[in-house]
């Protein structure tokens, strides 16, 4: 398998992530996976969901910033991804607010039924 285009000079397409960075990110991801499993065995009460989500977000950020090159990429691509997250947040937030708002009514209805 020879590379027919190897004589072309570097166009500098994209940022080349050093192997050391890739391995460091992978090691951090494994450590964070261990932490999230370990924390789930502890009794931290209602914080467990938020700890799990915080660790997942830390892992996700590493993947997005380094494996997906977003840290070195065009800011417009980061803007698109941020847009996705903003709309996801709006979607989840408004639906949850609505659901919480009507929960007492549903409970009262069920009580009256029973």
């Amino acid at each position: 398998m020879t590379d027919s285009n190897s004589e072309i000079q570097h166009e500098g397409l994209g940022h080349v992530v050093p192997v050391s960075t890739l391995l460091a990110v992978f090691a951090a991801l494994i450590v964070l996976t261990y932490i999230t499993v370990f924390v789930s065995t502890l009794d931290v009460g209602r914080w467990s969901l938020w700890v799990a989500l915080a660790v997942a977000t830390a892992k996700g950020s590493l993947v997005v910033l380094y494996f997906m090159h977003l840290r070195y990429d065009s800011p417009f691509n980061a803007f698109i991804f941020a847009t996705a997250l903003v709309f996801l947040g709006l979607f989840l937030g408004i639906v949850l607010l609505d659901s919480i708002e009507y929960q007492p009514d549903i409970e009262m209805f069920l009580r009256n039924q029973g």
Partner: protein, 277 residues
């Protein structure tokens, strides 16, 4: 057109074969491909968002159902799959690096490793799914089995001459045992055995919600893994044919972005489904 190889000219148009006619420079083609991929990933985030929303609403309103449900998922298997998928993300990112540096053998090796890790992930998923299937924990399983003509030894599923029942109809004995064990570990005091059994029956019926969400989320994710494997297989074929170089590796980069998103979704699915406390 600056530094492109004119020896690969086709049709006398003066550019390399991998540069599409409607782009002026490789840089423009590369930036456009990445922009398009990120817009696609945006739709993917919102696609999964619907199911994450169902998860959020049901978990907020019925946390006890999710706590009961997570006892039926194996944390060691889920954690192993997380590590497998993180490893596949590493090899995919490394593969992009190899393509950027004209390392043809490195690229092929990385793609093979990524493909292998994806297959291992699906293998472990298959083990998990088949355990659920054997306990009839797939919502609507009785109807699926009836449609496929699979004989069931579960008496309540098979009344000859009658349509298969709808909904969540697992093997109650197995589920009761698991829930009872979990309650014992938490030191739940049972006052009346009869009332407790009635409560267990109700809790088992509610687990249908958890497993509906579990199979939708992990199933949609598994479909994405399969699509990713097809795309990586296609990259592997092109890499073996020597299509990629430091001047052109758009396909490797874009499939890589998709693959990392699949990993990103799993990073959230693992704690949300397996690690409920």
């Amino acid at each position: 057109m600056t530094a492109v190889d004119l020896s690969h000219d086709h049709g006398g148009e003066g550019h390399a074969p991998w540069l599409a006619h409607h782009f002026d420079t490789p840089q423009q083609q590369y930036a456009s491909a990445k922009l398009g991929t990120w817009v696609f990933l945006l739709t993917e985030v919102l696609f999964f968002g619907g199911l994450f929303c169902a998860y959020a609403v049901y978990r907020h309103n019925h946390p006890e159902v999710f706590f009961d449900g997570h006892h039926f998922l194996s944390t060691p298997l889920g954690a192993t799959n997380t590590v497998v998928l993180l490893f596949s993300s590493l090899t995919m990112a490394w593969g992009v690096r190899c393509a950027q540096l004209d390392q043809q053998r490195g690229l092929v090796t990385c793609l093979c490793l990524t493909l292998t890790a994806a297959a291992v992930f699906l293998g472990i998923k298959y083990i998990e799914y088949s355990q659920k299937w054997s306990h009839h924990m797939v919502p609507g399983q009785a109807r699926i089995m009836a449609a496929l003509g699979i004989e069931s030894e579960h008496a309540t599923d098979h009344v000859p001459g009658q349509p298969a029942p709808r909904g969540f109809r697992p093997y109650k004995e197995h589920l009761m045992e698991v829930l009872r064990h979990s309650d014992q570990e938490r030191g739940v005091v049972i006052v009346s055995e009869k009332a407790y059994e009635a409560q267990l029956e109700k809790r088992i019926q509610n687990l249908g919600v958890f497993f509906g969400i579990y199979f939708s989320l992990t199933g949609l994710h598994a479909i994405h893994v399969i699509c990713g494997m097809i795309a990586i297989g296609w990259l592997l074929r092109r890499a073996l044919a020597g299509h990629f170089s430091s001047a052109y590796f758009n396909a490797v980069d874009c499939v890589g972005l998709y693959w990392h998103l699949v990993d990103l979704i799993w990073i959230y699915l693992f704690p949300l489904l397996y690690l409920i406390h």
